[in-house]
Each structure stands twice: as structure tokens, then as C-alpha cells.
Symmetry: C2
Subunit: 189 residues, 2 copies
Amino acid sequence: MHHNLIQHIRKHITLSDNEILTLNKYIEQSNYKKKEFVLQENNVCRNLYFVEKGCLRMYFINAKAVEQIVQFALDGWWISDLKSFINNTPSDYYIQTIEESKIISINTEKLDQLLNELPKLERYFRIIMQKELAGAQFKSKLMYEMSKEDFYNHFCTSFPEFVQRVPQYMIASYLGLTPEYVSELRKKM
Amino acid sequence: MHHNLIQHIRKHITLSDNEILTLNKYIEQSNYKKKEFVLQENNVCRNLYFVEKGCLRMYFINAKAVEQIVQFALDGWWISDLKSFINNTPSDYYIQTIEESKIISINTEKLDQLLNELPKLERYFRIIMQKELAGAQFKSKLMYEMSKEDFYNHFCTSFPEFVQRVPQYMIASYLGLTPEYVSELRKKM
DNA sequence: CGGTCTCTTGACGGAGTTCAAAGCTAGTGG
DNA sequence: CCACTAGCTTTGAACTCCGTCAAGAGACCG
């Protein structure tokens, strides 16, 4: 059972075959069909999710009853509502597959036990969190400095594969603009 | 030498007096006057900064040559340009004191050495990064769902001490609106 | 093929910006 | 301790980016 998560961990720390066995005791792997829910609103987000293969989106329903996407996750990314995960409070978000996906999850208690048994993984998760935070800082900077038009163009040129893989209206939502406006922008090019 | 950082760490993990001595070998403490720079644009952000006492802001200069604040840090907060810190690349940001401040800093190599000598701190930093990421996710959600007017009101009621301590135009900048518009909003109340 | 998603078009409106100017406030030096 | 200046806040008018609404055209799936 040699999944992508192991490759991912080994990019950051060493891991013996024995330690992999330990790791595997604590994680859970499942397959999801397209549009299946990994997390539903009002449930506590008890897991960190790692995308082995596939594509997820995280969104909430805003005051106008419209889905607002805040994050995507592709192969090799972690995703979670950390506020809910840390505080054990109901989540405001849905996490849902966009395509058929293979997801590894680890829940609060298991993560705790795993980190006790294999403290070197603290380092791995520290690095992951640090990187994600760097990413969040960067996205935030782009949103501060760019007009929506520039932000859209920037996104399309930075992640062309993504634009192929995910419907327009989801990208619009993630970037904080309406499908109508995206449509107008595409006409320009 | 019993600084606030130790209290902060002890909220998350245990730390013996001996371990404190080790820690103190690697960190550096300095005092800054009002408006002094902790980091300047184009320099690599080589440190994580912990605010012992005082107040910092992190900002960049946007295309219109206007300061755009992306983050504040008060007593007991960590702050850093992680993208620059991780990749050793020049930063786009300035970090500057708003008031006279006492700052603890730890640079890349020292952090590395410290974490080797005191691996249990990996856990502390993992938790810190996790919490900051949760905070970033939360701020991002607010920016997606609220109008600027609501965002401003929300901020003022959530952090009244902050509004006392920091000039209006900095809060405006942080929230992504113009000082003129803030002025208009204040008149309403 | 029928129905439900997804994308496009165009007219209109409004939240929030820009610009320019004036009124405050607070820190500094004499 | 006063006066000056630079920095901060306020006003108001004009403008614009982008959202809203309504309707239609494709596209995909069972």
C-alpha cells in the first residue's frame, strides 16, 4: 500500500518502511464519486483530508443563498476547515468532490495518537501548515492588489490545466466574481 | 530572562527551565522605536518575528504607489513573510512598528538548529502555523461574504481596542477600502 | 430527445473609488 | 509653552467597475 501521501511526506522528512506501517494504521482511504460530499455544513470537520487523486472544492452558502467557493484541492494537496477542526465546532463549509476522487483522511484523535507514536511527523505537518499559510498570504496579496479583471487573467495564465478541469462558474466563484462578468472578460480575449 | 514567548509556548507544550536556556541561545530580542522597520522591501525575510510587546504592520506598495496593509501583529502574535522566509527570496513587504515595540526574532538557520536540538518545538510551531492558517481562512471567508461596509462595522465591533490603538487610515487599508469611504461610514453612525 | 446545467448578452444600477480641497490634530523644535 | 508643519480626517461631486436581473442559447446526461 504505497500511496502518494508517502511520496509527499518523503519530500520533507525520511520515513522507514516500519514507520509507513505505523502511519497506515491511523489513516483511512476512501473513494468518492463525482459531486459526493466529504464534509457537510453544520458537521464538525473532524478530519484533515489529503487528495490522493482527484479534485475537491470547499464552499459555503452566502447570505444570498449562493455557493461561495473558498478553496480547491488537487492531487497532493491537503484541505480542511481548520477552525472547525481545531475547536471542534460545526463547520460553515461543504467539501465536495468535483471529479471522482481518492481521498486519505485522518481524524483529530488518530492524528493525535499518530503524532505521539511518530513525533517526527510533527515536522512534516509543521512544514505543510507553513507552506499553506504562505500560499494563503500570497493569494490574499493578489486579491488586495489586483482588479477582478487582472485577477482573472492572472489565474488563467497561472493555472491553465485548472481552467480546463473545472467549470467556469466555479472559477468565477473562487475568484469572487459573477459568471456574467467572467463571460464578459472572456469575450475581450 | 522570562519573556512572554515562554508563556506562549507553555500554553501548547511543556518546557523545562533547561529547555528555556536552550531556547534563549537561539532567539534574539530587540527594541524598536515607533515607525522603525523590522523588514524592508527587497530584503529576504530571514526571521520569524514574535511581538513581545507593541504593534507591527506588514504592508506592500501597490501599483498606484499606495501602502497596502495585509496584516497587523499585537502582543503575543507571530508575523513573517513566509513565502520569502521559506524560499529565501526577496520580500515584497515592509514590516514596521506602529508603536514602540519589543520583538523576538529567530532566523532560518537558528530555527533549524533549535528544532534539531529541541524537536518538541516542532509541535509548538505546527500548532502556531495551524492556528494562523485557521485565522487566514476565517478572514478570507469574511472578505468573501461581506460588503465593505459590513466588514468595517464587523471589524470595529470585534476589535474595539484595536480601533483605539491604530490610525483610521491603516484600518481602512487593511480592510481594503479608502480613507474617504471609511470617513463616510463613520458619519452614518 | 427532453430536461437540467452551464454559459452568454445586454440594459441598468449602485457600492465604493478618485480627485481636489479644506479642516483638524499632534508632534517637534525654538 | 507656543507656533508651525506634516500627517490625518472629512466633504462633496463625478465616475467606474462590477453586480443584478431577465432572457436566451448551448451543452451534456439519462
